[in-house]
């Protein structure tokens, strides 16, 4: 499958929020042993929508994020992506994962490959894009996230913020339908958080469909269309950011917000 010829490399998500949702989770349950980490999760995300998931640690938000590209299989319920249910492990799942970009807390850049090779590996190997074409797209994306001058270096030579921006470029190189961010700034030094959030904000502005697990409330206010609050494996409350931050309905969310917004 060849990459499409969209003029703007960052805006692969379409704005129109019509038709069926891009990501839909229905009655999803997941346990790790006796720990019920996801309980009857129902969540649908429209095209072009930016959903920020917040909640205390251990609330299941990371697991929720990881079930969407089936890095974490679920015990029951259904998850559909662009109308298609997630297939079982195998080639079909690999193809589907190629359409879902994922950015990890720990960056997870391939340590033995240069920055450029990190970004081109997926397009070349999973999509069959020609090397020259993959490299020019990669350079364009690295330019966008501001690390083009690091293209020939190995990840270990980059700062955390630079590595995370490379990781975003690597995910974008697949021209994903949706981007998942699993606490993308939690492992970063404070002064590097903004450079990553800026890239994410500009992605959101360009209409990318995004599901973001984060503790950055500023980003949630600024870029999210909807905030989802999770606690103890359940979605407790969902609202537009303004309502949620000023007028959270559940006691649990109010308690959580009082803790994080006052420090």
């Amino acid at each position: 499958m060849a990459a499409s010829n969209e003029p703007d490399v960052l805006s692969t998500g379409m704005q129109a929020a019509v038709g069926e949702p891009l990501v839909q989770m229905q009655n999803v349950n997941k346990s790790f042993g006796s720990l019920h980490v996801l309980q009857d999760i129902n969540l649908s995300v429209q095209r072009g929508e930016v959903v920020v998931v917040i909640g205390p640690s251990g609330s299941g938000k990371s697991t929720l994020c990881r079930t969407i590209n089936r890095l974490e299989p679920i015990d029951s319920g259904t998850i559909t992506l662009d109308g298609q249910p997630l297939p079982a492990e195998g080639r079909a799942l690999a193809r589907l994962r190629a359409d879902v970009g994922m950015v990890f807390q720990a960056f997870n850049l391939f340590a033995h490959k240069t920055v450029l090779d990190n970004v081109t590996l997926g397009p070349i190997r999973a999509r069959g894009v020609k090397k020259a074409e993959a490299e020019s797209l990669a350079m364009e994306l690295l330019e966008r996230v501001g690390v083009a001058d690091q293209a020939r270096k190995y990840p270990a030579a980059l700062s955390g913020g630079q590595q995370q921006r490379v990781a975003i470029a690597r995910a974008l190189a697949m021209r994903p339908k949706v981007m998942l961010f699993d606490e993308p700034t939690s492992a970063l030094d404070p002064e590097m958080i903004n450079e990553v959030l800026d890239v994410m904000t500009s992605l959101a502005k360009d209409g990318m469909t995004m599901i973001v697990i984060t503790h950055e409330m500023g980003f949630a206010r600024r870029a999210a269309h909807r905030v989802v609050f999770m606690d103890a494996g359940r979605i407790v409350e969902q609202a537009v950011p303004e309502d949620f931050f000023t007028n959270a309905k559940s006691e649990r969310a109010q308690d959580f917000l009082s803790k994080i917004l006052t420090h």
Partner: protein
């Protein structure tokens, strides 16, 4: 007379030992890598095959494997190639078990996030292993892998007991024919083995430094 005979027999034996080593190293590395891949695969029967292989071949004395490969199987009409290839078979099967275990420990040192990131961009399990996990695993196990190859170098000498004209075979021949030059015989053969081992450790050190820079 002794000197020219020594040099000619040494070089003959040296070449045979190198051939035994080279082929066994190659086959054991390929087979060991496949076995390691099986041992970490999500498919239970493949894992079971990998585990059984290692249990059988790592726990069988090399001489017994030689007896099976050189004498036993040909008796049953199997593995009827030259003695050289029967010896390579025994050495390769034995060493592959060790390569597998070394590599498996290397795979375990590669952070789980590396494989997750590879799967997340749409690589299949095989691609993830081949393009992301194994290259890093190899880098992490260069020293123990060199030890396996050094052990293999010394193990090639077992072939001398099965009619392969390697260095050790030449040594026993030289002792018989020139009993007066016992020390020369021993030292010159030992020097040949030391040379091979030194090259292996040197190459390992060089390789380790080179990939050390790229991380």
């Amino acid at each position: 007379m002794y000197r020219s005979e020594l040099i000619s027999r040494l070089s003959d034996g040296f070449i045979v030992t190198l051939q035994l080593l080279g082929w066994s190293m190659l086959i054991a590395t390929v087979l060991g890598t496949l076995l390691a891949a099986m041992r970490v695969s999500p498919i239970a029967p493949l894992r079971a095959v990998g585990v059984s292989y290692v249990n059988i071949f790592r726990n069988t004395p090399l001489v017994v494997l030689f007896l099976i490969a050189v004498v036993g199987l040909p008796e049953l009409g199997l593995l009827t190639g030259s003695f050289f290839w029967r010896a390579v078979t025994a050495l390769s099967l034995y060493t592959a078990a060790f390569v597998c275990e070394v590599l498996r420990s290397g795979i375990n040192t590669v952070q789980a996030g590396q494989a997750e990131a590879a799967r997340a961009i749409g690589l299949t399990f095989g691609q993830t292993l081949r393009l992301v996990v194994l290259p890093q695993a190899f880098r992490n196990v260069i020293p123990p892998l060199a030890s396996v190859y050094i052990a293999l170098t010394k193990n090639t000498s077992v072939a001398s007991a099965f009619g392969i004209l390697d260095l050790t075979y030449q040594l026993s021949d030289l002792i018989e024919d020139f009993p007066g030059s016992l020390y020369w015989n021993f030292f010159s053969i030992a020097a040949c083995y030391i040379l091979i081992v030194a090259v292996i450790s040197g190459a390992a050190a060089l390789f380790e430094r080179r990939v050390g820079v790229s991380r």
